[in-house]
Amino acid sequence: MSIQLALFYFFAAVAVGSALAMVLNLRNTVASAMSLVITMVSLAAVYVLMDAFLVGALQIMVYGGAIVVLFVFVVMLLNLRQDDFPPPRQRFVKALGTLLVLFALGKLVAAVPGALPEAVARLPEGFGGYRDVGTALFTRFLLPFEATSLLLLAALVGAVVLAKRRLD
């Protein structure tokens, strides 16, 4: 087992574990968010293991540094100390859905090995670096990029309008 594989197993285990912790932690939303951060960071590590340096760094910056902080911020703003919800409705549907998902999960996980093509033996120079990804983003994918900027603007306006206390 190479160091890389070992690291991958480690981070994968951390990611899955913390993701489960996020979903299963029924009482503390902030703890859920922190579990999510750990998932994000381990995923960033996995990205780096796969030579996706830029994406890894951005993963931490955006997901870890901004998105989840926003979650925590909102939780704190609303001052939700504990989830003490009444008993859930639709238990049956939820249980069924969970089972279905788990079943599909099993099928898929079993289906993946052998279904994928071989990875290329040699990566091109600068793969995953900010230069190459940036060049692709600003040349071939310029239109999606610009569309994203528009989306962000819309989201910005939408969020402000939604969160504003009163429109005046």
Binding site: V23, S32, M40, V112, V133, R140
Partner: protein, 97 residues
């Protein structure tokens, strides 16, 4: 690579289950983020597999979309909490027969 894709599947499934089972809107949004992350992971894996940067570009775009989604989603959560004093999705069921 198989392992990475499997990891992606597992994370995605966890996200789905979370979104399906949890009743706290914020946690549901987090689960959605988790699903997006799983997809990103798959993108990165495929990108690595083909030795091609396009997947990374997609990931960047997905991250952007996720940020936008969270901004709007949390805005909705805040206004929901202001108006209904709850973050329980089961309580938000006015739009029905």
């Amino acid at each position: 690579m198989d392992l990475v894709v499997d990891l992606s599947v597992v994370l995605f499934a966890i996200g789905v289950v979370g979104a399906l089972v949890r009743r706290n809107v914020i946690v549901i949004l987090m689960s959605v983020e988790l699903m997006l992350n799983a997809v990103n992971l798959a993108f990165v894996a495929f990108s690595r597999m083909h030795g091609n940067n396009d997947g990374h570009v997609f990931v960047l775009i997905v991250i952007t979309v996720a940020a936008a989604e969270v901004a709007v989603g949390l805005g909705i959560v805040i206004s929901l909490f202001r108006n209904r004093d709850t973050v329980n999705v089961d309580d938000v069921s006015l739009l029905k027969w």
